[in-house]
């Protein structure tokens, strides 16, 4: 009976990937407790609820056949796009950004849906055009990508827009966009930087300037970076020990349980901890790339590749930001930061990876 239940639960679960995920998540809860000051127990309970929901989403997506997922891609994308338009028209403004939409009881942030829908719809598109991709197909793909990204940039939510753009770009890149085009786009992009600069909001410019010289504004924008690098640096090789980080516990590190949780982790667990975290992430990414390489359809390949690369991007952007080599954009550290939404979309993505990995035999036979 119990073994049958276990079979049911473990069906479609990729063992190695699940093991790496579980270790990382356990690490995450440990750090969240430490990063919450006096509210530790409450926060851990809260994160426990988030986790339960996210793991359920993972399991659910792992059960869904990639074929069905492919059929859902376009409707999900269109729905997401409609919601984004709705946000632009009647969204609620919080902290100066129009990102939220009231739907009866719940408030949703439609850009979160796009984190999954955009790579899926692009993978679906290339899957359809499998026989002989032409340049025009790539142009249409670019339009599919730019529509939601443009809407999100206008909210403004530059961080999310960049991540969604990256996830879509990965699909296009893996589908085989020619190097000539990539090269000329890069040149064009660099050339348009001054124009982009003039389009940016003041606070966005400030973040980039602050990255170049944090001391310029030590009280405001630079404060985050200064305090988080002090926290990480002072952790040394072995760290100050769990719950013993002075920077974190004395409240010097801002947003220490969410976007800047790596500062707490780095301070309390040192270089050793950071290396362990990097290795865990590499294991997850490596497994993801293997699943992508062995997937049996174009859709499955592209989806798995994009999910994996996007996961990498999250981790890299957050770690780069907290350690002071990338500008501050609001990206949480995957599976470690406190918060439910990001956790949900990441584990849902992992569920898709597992579905692709465990369903391939059926398709090829």
């Amino acid at each position: 009976m119990i073994s049958r239940l276990f079979d049911l639960l473990a069906r479609r679960i990729d063992g190695p990937l699940m093991a790496a995920l579980a270790l990382t998540l356990a690490l995450g809860v440990t750090v969240v407790y430490s990063a919450s000051g006096g509210l530790g127990a409450d926060r851990v309970m809260g994160q426990g609820r988030n986790l339960a929901l996210a793991v359920f989403a993972l399991w659910l997506f792992a059960q869904v056949h990639p074929q069905l997922l492919m059929r859902l891609a376009l409707p999900a994308y269109l729905a997401g796009l409609a919601l984004l338009v709705a946000v632009a028209l009647f969204g609620e403004i919080r902290n100066g950004a129009r990102r939220w939409l009231h739907l009866g009881m719940a408030t949703i942030q439609p850009s979160e849906i796009m984190k999954i829908a955009v790579p899926l719809v692009l993978a679906w598109w290339f899957h359809r055009r499998e026989e002989g991709l032409r340049l025009l197909d790539f142009v249409i793909a670019a339009v599919i990508l730019v529509l939601p990204v443009g809407l999100i940039v206008r909210q403004p939510d530059l961080g999310t827009a960049l991540l969604i753009f990256a996830s879509g770009f990965f699909v296009i890149f893996l589908a085989g966009l020619s190097w000539k085009v990539i090269g000329s786009m890069t040149v064009a992009g660099l050339a348009s930087l001054p124009f982009l600069w003039s389009m940016m909001h003041d606070y966005q410019r400030q973040r980039i300037l602050t990255l170049l010289d944090p001391m310029q504004d030590p009280l405001g924008a630079g404060y985050h970076i200064i305090q988080s690098t002090i926290a990480i640096g002072s952790g040394g090789i072995l760290g100050k020990g769990w719950l013993n980080g002075t920077q974190a516990q004395l409240d010097f590190v801002p947003e220490r349980s969410t976007d800047f949780i790596l500062a707490v982790f780095g301070e309390e667990f040192g270089l050793v901890g950071n290396v362990i975290l990097l290795v865990l992430y590499l294991l997850i990414i490596g497994r993801g790339l293997m699943i992508a390489a062995n997937a049996s359809t174009v859709f499955a390949r592209l989806t798995a590749g994009a999910i994996t690369l996007t996961f990498f991007t999250y981790a890299f952007v957050n770690m780069g930001m907290v350690s002071g080599i990338l500008p501050v954009v609001g990206v949480p550290l995957p599976m470690i930061s406190y918060g439910g939404t990001a956790l949900l979309s990441i584990l849902a993505g992992m569920g898709i990876l597992m579905s692709i990995s465990t369903h391939k035999q059926l398709v090829s036979s």
Partner: protein
């Protein structure tokens, strides 16, 4: 064609795998960069960052804003700030706190009360918080400590603003007090997203106006960027954003009236609420005994706390909002109105009162307070002489649910919504309520007791005052409130609050109201139950007296006050408004163990009315002691 497609698919797969490999390679490079960055920070630069973390050389310190003042309606100060020196200890920086305090006592005076308070604070706070051991240091004491400061690491003199309540006990239950922020407060602040604004603030409004309008009073915290030495002392200021002071609040209370009302209680416990019936402004809110809010400001010491908390007089209990008493006969005007409105009584309807009432088929006699009865009684007379028998029958004819419906319109059984916390709802019982509360059927006898404001019926003095104000306001509901205006700290502009009185929702017919009000006026004239206290008044007063039983009486048992202990003596009640034809003030008074409304509550109301309407200050006349009040002068 199929072959071509196959070749195409193969080619696609090769491209895909190549690109995937390329991406994997890029990922490795990126992670290597991160690893390099971590190694740079945590190995090569470790010493540098370690020093920074230890000293955290540049520190951003919050600059606490001045708390807004609280003023009465004429601008007299009820809560103010003053600047003084405190000596604070950070326990985590002192190896042996007790020995250090001993040492300190040789330099400046440290009283046993200071030590007890410090100990209590220490138990309630975290180790690295700075806690006051002495407050209000003199200049000389500051100088003496400064000379010896090298002997006291972890001790610090701070110049701080303190809250003071210059009126002491006066209006303490309305103003409330501030106290040190505790864990529950921290949680509340955190949930409201105000953590940043409370950095550096160690006091918060706990009760009354101070608690309810914390948001207005607190202000916006500024910041100062300072360079600090290894010991944590500020060396110099680098930049500063100024704090914005909290707003001053003008409350509806009239301080002089409040004082007169409080003094009028003399040694009695009880409560008084006076309301302007035109707009709901609370002119006086008394709960006796009061307490000195100044005791709470820096953490109350255990002895004072025990004295307040365990006193049988319960000085911390806000009787005006939280005391739920049977309204007794003060409910009769409302019952009379209900009977007129529901056409269960006409003004002419007359009973012959034998001194008791019986329900059909039941032997039990519901007694009138006057054993021999009042003779012929109509509606007018029933109010003037407070005939119980009349209301037993009236309530029985109305039925409990009609009573419930009608009383609810006047605000009984629900909080009035006054703008400070802690109010209790009282109780206007109904069949449904009894079923829910006791899983029992409602009996006709229950209704009979409710008819004279006893039985299950409960109300707070505030509710009674609001209901009386509603009577005075021609049935338009009055919502009591304490905040009159907010003075913006930046522009100094006084912003009056919109009066919250409802314009519609008239609950009763004018002719019925006029009848009841006329009877209430005769209550204060010769022959009425409150006539004594109003001899010679230059204005007309409408009133109703009442008595709330403290001990239930058995059938046929005579209420013998001499045999009962004083705390079992009945509570006296009075509701009143004046001038009767154009009411400017409505009030409700409860005097605990004051026996009869006419003899103790009546004179208190007279003093309040005299001052408010004519400006005449009361000449101190002793209220009768409870054992001097004759038994037969009931109700």
């Amino acid at each position: 064609m199929a072959g071509f497609a196959m070749r195409d698919q193969q080619r696609e797969l090769v491209v895909f795998r190549n690109r995937l490999m390329l991406a994997g390679f890029a990922i490795l490079i990126a992670f290597a960069m991160l690893l390099g960055r971590f190694a740079w920070l945590q190995v090569v630069q470790r010493e540098y960052y370690h020093t920074l973390a230890e000293a955290n050389r540049i520190s951003v310190v919050p600059v606490v804003p001045n708390r807004g003042l609280i003023l009465d309606r004429t601008g007299k100060v009820l809560a103010a700030n003053y600047s003084a020196y405190t000596l604070e200890i950070t326990p985590s920086k002192v190896p042996n706190v007790e020995r250090a305090i001993e040492e300190l006592a040789r330099v400046i005076e440290v009283s046993p009360r200071d030590r007890r308070r410090f100990k209590k604070l220490q138990e309630e706070s975290k180790n690295f918080e700075s806690l006051p051991i002495r407050t209000r240091l003199t200049e000389e004491e500051v100088a003496r400590f400064a000379v010896n400061r090298f002997r006291f690491p972890g001790f610090e003199i701070k110049a701080r603003l303190f809250r003071s309540y210059p009126q002491g006990e006066v209006a303490s239950h309305a103003i409330g007090y501030i106290g040190r922020i505790n864990d529950a407060d921290v949680k509340r602040i955190d949930e409201a997203g105000l953590t940043t604004n409370y950095k550096g603030t160690d006091h918060i409004g706990k009760l009354g106006i101070e608690g309810a309008y914390e948001k207005e009073l607190h202000g916006l915290t500024g910041t100062e960027q300072v360079e600090i030495d290894a010991g944590g002392r500020a060396i110099r200021s680098l930049a500063r954003t100024e704090p914005i002071s909290g707003n001053n609040l003008m409350v509806t209370l009239d301080l002089d009236l409040q004082k007169i009302a409080e003094d009028a209680f003399q040694d009695y416990k009880g409560a008084l609420v006076a309301i302007d019936p035109k707009n709901g402004e609370v002119l006086a809110l008394v709960s006796r005994p009061g307490f000195d809010p100044n005791l709470f400001v820096d953490g109350i010491d255990p002895q004072n706390w025990d004295a307040l908390n365990n006193s049988p007089d319960k000085p911390l209990n806000n009787r005006a909002l939280r005391g739920q008493y049977p309204p007794g006969s003060t409910i009769k005007p409302f019952m009379a109105l209900a009977a007129l409105e529901f056409r269960k009584r006409s003004p002419e309807f007359t009973i012959s009162d034998p001194g008791y009432f019986t329900l059909a088929g039941v032997n039990h006699r519901y007694r009138d307070w006057k054993k021999e009865g009042h003779g012929l009684v109509n509606l007018h007379k029933s109010i003037v002489i407070s005939c119980d028998t009349y209301y037993y029958g009236l309530a029985n004819d109305l039925g409990i649910d009609a009573i419930h419906t009608f009383l609810t319109r006047f605000g009984f059984g629900a909080p009035t919504g006054i703008d400070i916390d802690g109010e209790l709802p009282g109780l206007a019982p109904s069949q449904e309520w009894k079923q829910r509360r006791f899983r029992q059927k409602w009996y006709a006898g229950d209704t009979v007791s409710v008819g004279i404001g006893q039985g299950y019926m409960l109300s707070t003095p505030l509710q009674l005052a609001a209901a009386t104000a509603t009577l005075a306001n021609n049935g338009v509901p009055v919502h009591p409130r304490l905040l009159k205006a907010v003075q913006d700290s930046k522009t100094q502009e006084m912003r009056e609050l919109e009066p919250s009185v409802e314009k519609d929702a008239v609950a009763v017919k004018p002719e019925n109201l006029a009848l009841v009000r006329a009877a209430m006026v005769d209550v204060t004239r010769p022959g009425g139950t409150a006539s004594q206290a109003y001899a010679g008044a230059t204005y007309a007063v409408a009133a109703k007296t009442g008595t709330a039983q403290v001990v239930g009486m058995k059938q046929n048992e005579k209420y013998d006050e001499k045999r009962l202990k004083q705390e079992h003596w009945d509570h006296a009640l009075l509701i009143a408004f004046a001038p009767a034809d154009d009411p400017k003030i409505a009030l409700a008074i409860l005097v605990e163990n004051g026996k009869h409304g006419g003899s103790t509550a009546g004179p208190i109301a007279r003093e309040v009315f005299d001052y408010y309407l004519t400006g005449r200050k009361p000449v101190r006349k002793d209220l009768p002691k409870p054992d001097q009040i004759p038994d037969e002068e009931h109700d």
